[in-house]
């Protein structure tokens, strides 16, 4: 623990500008999280534009604040509207909305906010513990491992985000990889797929792709009429809320652990963290519990899990420069924009950055809990805003967000093009997360693969002789092979023969 870096981080957070910025950013994050159609990814992306001229640490504080706020804010609309404000709160809606219908909406929101706070705090502890460890391991990676890490990230993300159809997830990821090849390659500076356009020689910027891919489908969704059944806020007993939290100590710890693990897997993120934590708690259901009809333990589990995934998603961002989730990907792009270089060399070059992130996350969690607990009346008003009015305004903000990265209108064109692609992908069942991961990791994969082959004169042997490479290859095969029908039939045949042998011997 370096006290000097700790003091530096605290001085930014405690400064008047820092405090005011944090309160505003967490508040905006809560609004973004609360409104269906606005996601944490969009919130962080739009605020990235606002922080364009900010000092580095202040920008990081604002962006972490909006990230924590947005993931936490989703529970409000999940509970009161049965529409999760962000995908991360989808599991909260299952138990939270029935609770609201029973007149326990305020209690559910109180418990959800507190669970979000604890989830974030516990994940901060994991960030402090695991980031230096993972960075040390990453320093042992050479070009072979870095290439395989990129492939592994895309394959596992495709598997876990495709809703049971990994082929579509992998196609999405590989299309992202192909898109990342546009522009000058990092080894020879040869312009690829530029069609003679100077604007494309610099490659495709990440932020316009993200804003288009994740924001535009939600904006287009506003064109179809929607109705909302908003349940009004009632009063509740804080003592009862605290008693529930104390009863769920183990649930909170388990959900936080699951959330951190899910968040750390590239591209998977907060919604899976929330679902897995919810499922794990539901599996322990005792007779007489009311799962699906307003089981408060479910709210605790999903909100702890999804907020813990924030820290989980930040761990690979800091140690490997690989995002654990879509909002973390925007955060990574923002870090780069402000001159920070997360990755294996972060602990050597800019070790104070870890302290900034940790302290800012703690402060964001505290401010989020205070604001979220006191904004119930505002919540009802905000949730009544018609998306048909809000979304076109958000589109204008998206245009600014896309423009600000390189000060080019061309990036706005790209945002619209990728937005249309996002609409098509969403309609045809292709997940966006692997695509985004492919765009982020493509150049890293290209550079490292070619470097590895150039250094070893085309020899592929190091891929299968280096221990870490073998680990990645085995993991990738374990994810891919079960999807091949021939392999499944072979496994079934072997299992059938074993079963017959067992029956014969008995």
């Amino acid at each position: 623990m370096n006290v000097e870096y700790l003091i530096q981080a605290l001085s930014v957070a405690f400064s008047p500008v820092g405090m005011i910025s944090l309160i505003i950013s967490v508040f905006l994050g809560l609004i973004f999280g609360m409104l269906p159609g606005l996601t944490a990814t969009m919130g962080v992306a739009l605020l990235t534009g606002v922080t364009y001229n900010f000092d580095g640490p202040l920008a990081v504080l604002v962006l972490i604040g909006v990230y924590v706020g947005a993931i936490s804010g989703g529970c409000q609309s999940a509970i009161l509207l049965n529409i999760p404000g962000t995908p991360a709160s989808a599991a909260t809606a299952i138990e939270g909305y029935p609770l609201a219908k029973q007149g326990k909406g305020s209690l559910a929101i109180f418990v959800a906010n507190a669970s979000s706070f604890f989830g974030t705090l516990l994940s901060v502890f994991c960030v402090m513990l695991f980031t230096p460890l993972l960075t040390d391991i990453a320093l042992k990676f050479n070009s072979h491992e870095m290439f395989l890490l990129a492939v592994f990230g895309i394959v596992i993300c495709g598997n876990l985000t495709s809703g049971g159809n990994p082929l579509k997830g992998w196609i999405s990821g590989f299309v992202g990889l192909l898109i990342s090849q546009v522009g000058r390659d990092t080894v020879n500076s040869v312009a690829r797929f530029c069609f003679g356009t100077i604007d494309l020689t610099g490659g495709i910027s990440l932020l316009p792709v993200m804003i288009g891919l994740f924001g535009f489908p939600e904006i287009v969704h506003a064109f179809s009429p929607q109705s909302r059944d908003l349940i009004q806020i009632d009063s509740f007993s804080a003592r009862e809320g605290i008693a529930i939290l104390l009863r769920n100590k183990v649930n909170i710890l388990r959900s936080a652990a699951l959330g951190v693990c899910m968040g750390a897997i590239p591209g998977v993120g907060e919604d899976t963290g929330g679902w897995l934590a919810y499922w794990a708690e539901k599996k322990r259901a005792k007779p007489g519990s009311r799962w699906g009809e307003g089981e408060i333990n479910g709210v605790v589990a999903s909100e702890t899990g999804n907020n813990a995934a924030i820290g989980g998603a930040i761990i690979p961002v800091l140690s490997l420069a690989i995002p654990g989730s879509a909002p973390a990907a925007v955060l990574l792009a923002a870090f780069w924009m402000h001159g920070y270089r997360p990755g294996p060399l972060m602990m050597k070059d800019t070790p104070e950055f870890l302290y900034y992130v940790v302290i800012f996350m703690i402060f964001s969690a505290i401010v989020m809990w205070i604001i979220a607990s006191n904004m119930s009346k505002l919540t009802v008003r905000v949730l009544q805003i018609d998306n048909r009015i809000l979304m076109p305004i958000i589109f204008i903000c998206c245009v600014i967000g896309a423009f600000v990265v390189n000060n080019r209108v061309f990036d706005v064109y790209l945002m619209l093009v990728f937005g249309l692609l996002g609409v098509a992908m969403s309609y045809m069942g292709y997940p966006s997360a692997p695509f985004l991961l492919g765009v982020i990791l493509g150049n890293m994969a290209d550079e490292n693969l070619r470097r590895a082959l150039i250094l070893h004169k085309g020899n592929l042997l190091p891929f299968v002789t280096r221990p870490i490479s073998i680990f990645f290859i085995l993991f990738i095969l374990a994810l891919v092979l079960p999807q091949i029908p021939f392999v499944n039939r072979l496994i079934a045949k072997i299992k059938g023969k074993k079963h017959d042998k067992t029956q014969v011997t008995t």
Partner: protein, 174 residues
Amino acid sequence: MEQPNKPNESNSNPQAHLDFITGAVLFLICLWASVASIGYWQKMGGRFYASPGFMPILICSALGIMSLILMKRSLKNSSLQERTGQLARAFRQTLSSKTVYRATIGIGMFAVYVFGMLGKMPFWAASLITLFAVLMFLRFDRTAPTALKLFLISALSIGGIILLFQVAFSVPMP
């Protein structure tokens, strides 16, 4: 959007016709990109694995195989004729869908704003016109605000955006 389906067709994959066309389009893209990548290698010379065309060809090979698998899966329990027929029906249904019509007009408005107005007129003017036009277009039912209210909403929103981004935070506008 409605999914076209004859009564006797398999319902196991309602998007099979879309998978078929996606697979076909992806495969063609992969072919084209592979040819272009070979061109980069020939231009650069040297070893293939060191050339800028190497990674795109690897990606296109994997993507090409996956798109063929996707096409094959989409033809399961069906035939090429059936899938193309399904596509044609889906296209006709899409054209007649009100939701698609509204979404297309809205996207068209955004496209005119981005490609036709941005950079060619002041940002505030382009944004105000577009926002007002979109809000007017989205005014589906009688409960929606009047045109004057929508204009005020547009003007205040654009004013607020300019104040926040440009004045307060010195963010450059398109």
